[in-house]
């Protein structure tokens, strides 16, 4: 580890790829009004280097990356590309230089197919058979299997990310910026991605890698730059660090570990009996005979690879999709299968979907309005006689903000102006603050920094110990093992029996995720 002291930064560390940095950022400052999002930030990325950019939400990583990718202009400072000073006025110019980016929030047109989305990003801009072959070849060789003719709307989050990565690779970039690429992947998928990234690095392509998963940063990255409060606070070779020391550099002090002790179990609050739901979409997954029970005071997690029926299961539980028979989903003893989402909420259920923007929250609406979104039908008087009471919603916003430490610029901002981690804290907090009896939550800490993740996970544990039944649908095994009492695995629309978390290992869960959970069907190989 080396604390930063002026320009000699990093010289003492062994770097891959020779002497001239591929990309050098010198003393970059970016101000929004009086607020400095980047304050004298310097960074060197060598060719063929996998360079981690670490920091909490709001540390200034996104701003720095946007400057490098040309979507923001620095207030002061220089950017050098292969030793030459450059101005990157737009993402198009960044791409022309050879800088590609895979975003955390995807920029894909849902109504179009995979190949059409990719064609849009290419100079020719046309869909050809040759392009389809190239996509198949590239995606296959990098282990990112994709159907070029699938519609984006029908793809899971994990599959959409693959489209983004493949689209980026087709432009033959020399530097790829990756924002939280593994947050939606299973361990096996992530390992596959690491093989891809290492191969790219070996071919001379540099990767600027943003992640909150310190373990994978240690395993993968050659070099790490750590930011805190708009400044670079350290540079280090992550392989020589431990997860603990890295986290400490990021947060500045020890992060509070999630504490968990077994709660007192109450009656069965969530009972899923023989839930079957045919797929509503062309490439969707049909749910087949799913059985699970969650008792009050207990956290049960459903692990699984993206696109194995998680979206459909969440829809069936929330009431956005309704199964054929009412007794397929039983909440607090009531057959809820045919109920609409607000009737289920009245039974004490709360829901947090996987996608924050556009599903869990309306991007263009303020936080108070987003409170009304899910709590107008819960009998709390937020809507009365057809009139909305934004004053009450505003008080809930205040409570959620202080309980979950949601950081925002103005009193009542639009949801889209919050950073990913802060919005997630808000979306989770909005439901948890209601102290629901039943909580169904998908990907509770996707793309959220270690500090915020700890807050969210602790709040879930506390809620369950107060007697709530919590069902987590997650692809993050670390998270699952950290907080779940029992674990089930979903694979191709089938669910394995839930087992005690203490008797399971990540390896065993990984095996179930790769098809071992299926009781019958095609993957008998």
């Amino acid at each position: 580890m080396s604390e930063v002291t002026g320009d000699s930064t990093g010289e003492m560390l062994r770097r891959v790829g020779g002497d001239t940095p591929l990309l050098e950022v010198r003393h970059v400052v970016k101000r929004f009004g009086r607020f400095a999002a980047n304050d004298d930030v310097s960074l060197k990325v060598m060719p063929g280097e996998i360079h981690a950019l670490l920091g909490e939400n709001g540390a200034g990583k996104s701003t720095l990356v946007k400057i490098i990718y040309g979507s923001l202009q620095p207030t002061a400072g220089d950017i050098l590309w292969k030793g030459e000073p450059v101005t990157i006025a737009s993402p198009a110019e960044a791409r022309a230089l050879g800088i590609g980016m895979v975003f955390q929030h995807f920029s894909l047109f849902e109504a179009m197919t995979v190949i059409e989305n990719i064609a849009l990003a290419l100079p020719e801009g046309r869909v050809t058979r040759q392009l389809a072959d190239t996509i198949s070849r590239v995606s296959e060789s990098y282990g990112l299997s994709l159907d070029p003719d699938a519609h984006i709307a029908d793809l899971s989050v994990g599959e959409r990310q693959r489209v983004e990565i493949v689209r980026c690779l087709l432009q033959n970039p020399e530097l790829i910026i990756m924002d939280e690429p593994t947050s939606v992947l299973t361990p096996q998928e992530a390992d596959q991605l690491f093989v891809t990234l290492r191969r790219l690095a070996a071919e001379g392509c540099a990767i600027l890698y943003i992640s909150h998963r310190l373990e994978e940063v240690r395993a993968l990255c050659h070099h790490a730059t750590i930011m805190r409060r708009a400044k670079v606070v350290a540079e280090t070779d992550p392989a020589t660090e431990t997860v603990g020391t890295l986290a400490q550099l990021m947060v500045g002090n020890e992060i509070t570990r999630v504490t968990r002790e077994k709660g007192k179990l109450g009656p069965e609050a969530i009972l899923i009996k023989g839930l079957t739901l045919p797929s509503q979409e062309a490439f969707g997954v049909s749910l087949q005979d799913i059985n699970l029970s969650v008792r009050a005071g207990e956290i049960v997690a459903i692990a699984g690879i993206a696109g194995n029926g998680q979206k459909e299961l969440f829809g069936a539980l929330s009431g956005e999709e309704r199964p054929e028979r009412a007794d397929m989903v039983i909440f607090a003893g009531e057959a809820a299968g045919r109920m609409r989402i607000n009737e289920r909420r009245l039974l004490g259920a709360a829901f947090v979907p996987e996608e924050r923007l556009g599903h869990g929250a309306v991007p263009g609406l303020r936080l108070t309005e987003n409170v009304v979104l899910t709590r107008h039908g819960t009998g709390e008087g937020i809507a009365r006689r057809g009139f909305t009471r934004f004053g009450r919603a505003g008080r809930i916003v205040e409570k959620v903000v202080s309980l979950f430490d949601v950081r925002k610029g103005v009193v009542d901002p639009e949801a889209r102006s919050l950073s990913g981690g802060n919005l997630q804290k808000f979306v989770v907090g909005r439901e948890v603050q209601r102290t629901p009896k039943i909580l169904i939550i998908a990907q509770p800490t996707w793309g959220v920094d270690a500090g915020a993740a700890a807050v969210i996970r602790q709040s879930l544990i506390d809620l369950s110990r107060q007697g709530a039944a919590i069902l987590i649908i997650s692809q993050d095994l670390d998270e699952i093992f950290e907080i779940a009492d029992r674990i089930a695995v979903i694979s191709r629309g089938q669910l394995s029996a839930a087992e005690d978390a203490d008797t399971l290992t990540p390896e065993k869960v990984g095996l179930l995720m790769a098809g071992g959970a299926e009781k019958h069907g095609v993957a008998a190989a």
């Binding site: 000073p85 599903h359 979104l373 107008h376 610029g409």
Partner: protein
């Protein structure tokens, strides 16, 4: 070399929300001046006759209110459609069908002369417009048909149906073979009443009440919230327990009803019978009014007056300067163009960048 760049704002600019329509109107006035000059007129005289002369007399103000009222009423309904992401382009047809249905009592039952006829006609017109709007709505919710196309095409069906009705079954026996129906009786027309020397009929206060009601609905009711949420984010709307299908039905029914109401009141106040053409395109112009008014009820009130004055302006330049009144249509279109363009400034700010693409400033 300089070039302009748009940079996304983190928040909607409140200043620009207010300023952008004014910028658009200003740009339109300049554009109109250029067009007048190109037509060999003094641009200032042209701008005077087009924009100001029509409202310089009491009679002009009455005309303005008469023209603005149907535009405002229709645009209010359309704003609910557009806010909820339902693209009803067929208000003109719903207006026509509404007027036909509402005209059943005075035409088929001319001896039923009674104060009840007036409200009955208005209610029937609203029902007729709403039912006609149900066709594109149901086609959308059941078959996923594009409502822009279906609602637009149904306009022509409605207008041809009216044409056939007044030439065929409903043609007045006393009409010297003109394609008109019999004159409506005294309880089937709206008579103007003097308010401070300005003569207006019942439709103007109805428009004002509708503006106020919709403003309250959009601002502080759950229905208004539902409209906005479903328009911005259908998936989040479903998550909130709202139904996209029911909203489509609701929005089309409401806008159809208001178009029918407006059409009926135009017929009851200005014509007093049915004839092949009852509207100078109010249903289409109301689309411009809705957007010019930022889909906001009070904005629509103002926009309706602005657009109505352009109708009068078109007539004024025709009589005073012998220019084509088609120029009014051009100016309306240009106004909508500038409004939509200026709206960009609410979410983006303009940055002037020196230097060409790829070149470096720091070199």
């Amino acid at each position: 070399m300089m070039r302009l760049e748009l940079v996304k704002r983190t928040h909607k600019s409140r200043l620009m929300s207010v300023l952008s329509p004014l910028l658009a109107v200003a740009a339109t006035v300049v554009f109109a001046g250029v067009v007048f000059a190109a037509q060999g007129q003094n641009p200032f005289t042209g701008v005077w006759y087009f924009f100001l002369e029509p409202v310089s007399s009491l009679w002009g103000v009455e005309q303005l209110i008469t023209k603005a009222t149907p535009l405002i009423i229709i645009a209010l309904g359309l704003s609910v459609c557009y806010l909820s992401n339902n693209w009803n382009i067929g208000a003109e047809g719903q207006l026509t069908i509404g007027a036909i249905v509402g005209s059943i009592p005075p035409i088929l039952f001319p001896n039923f002369v009674n104060p009840i006829v007036l409200p009955l006609m208005l209610v029937m017109a609203m029902a007729g417009g709403a039912l006609y709007a149900m066709i594109p709505a149901k086609l959308k919710t059941v078959f996923g048909t594009n409502e822009i196309l279906t609602s637009l095409m149904l306009v022509y069906c409605a207008n041809l149906f009216l044409d056939w009705m007044v030439r065929g079954p409903w043609r007045s026996p006393q009409g010297y073979n003109f394609p008109i129906t019999i004159d409506f009786h005294e309880w089937a027309v709206l008579n103007p009443v003097s308010i401070g020397g300005v003569y207006v009929n019942l439709s103007a206060p109805i428009a004002l009440i509708l503006v106020a009601v919709l403003a309250v609905v959009m601002r502080s009711t759950l229905k208004g919230f539902e409209i906005r949420v479903l328009g911005q984010s259908p998936r989040a709307g479903t998550f909130a327990g709202f139904s996209n299908r029911r909203m489509t039905t609701f929005a089309f029914a409401l806008s159809g009803a208001l178009a029918g109401l407006a059409g009926m009141m135009v017929v009851m106040s200005e014509i007093g019978k049915l004839q092949p053409v009852i509207s100078p395109g109010y249903g289409f112009t109301a689309i411009i009014v809705a957007f010019l008014g930022r889909l906001n009820p009070v904005g629509i009130l103002i926009a309706g007056l602005v657009i109505a004055s352009s109708y009068l302006g078109g007539e004024a330049i025709q009589t005073s300067l012998q220019m084509s009144s088609k120029l009014a249509t051009v100016i309306q279109g240009v106004l909508l163009f500038f409004v939509l363009a200026a709206d960009t400034l609410i979410l983006y700010r303009v940055r002037i960048v020196a230097g060409r693409e790829g070149e470096s400033l720091h070199a």
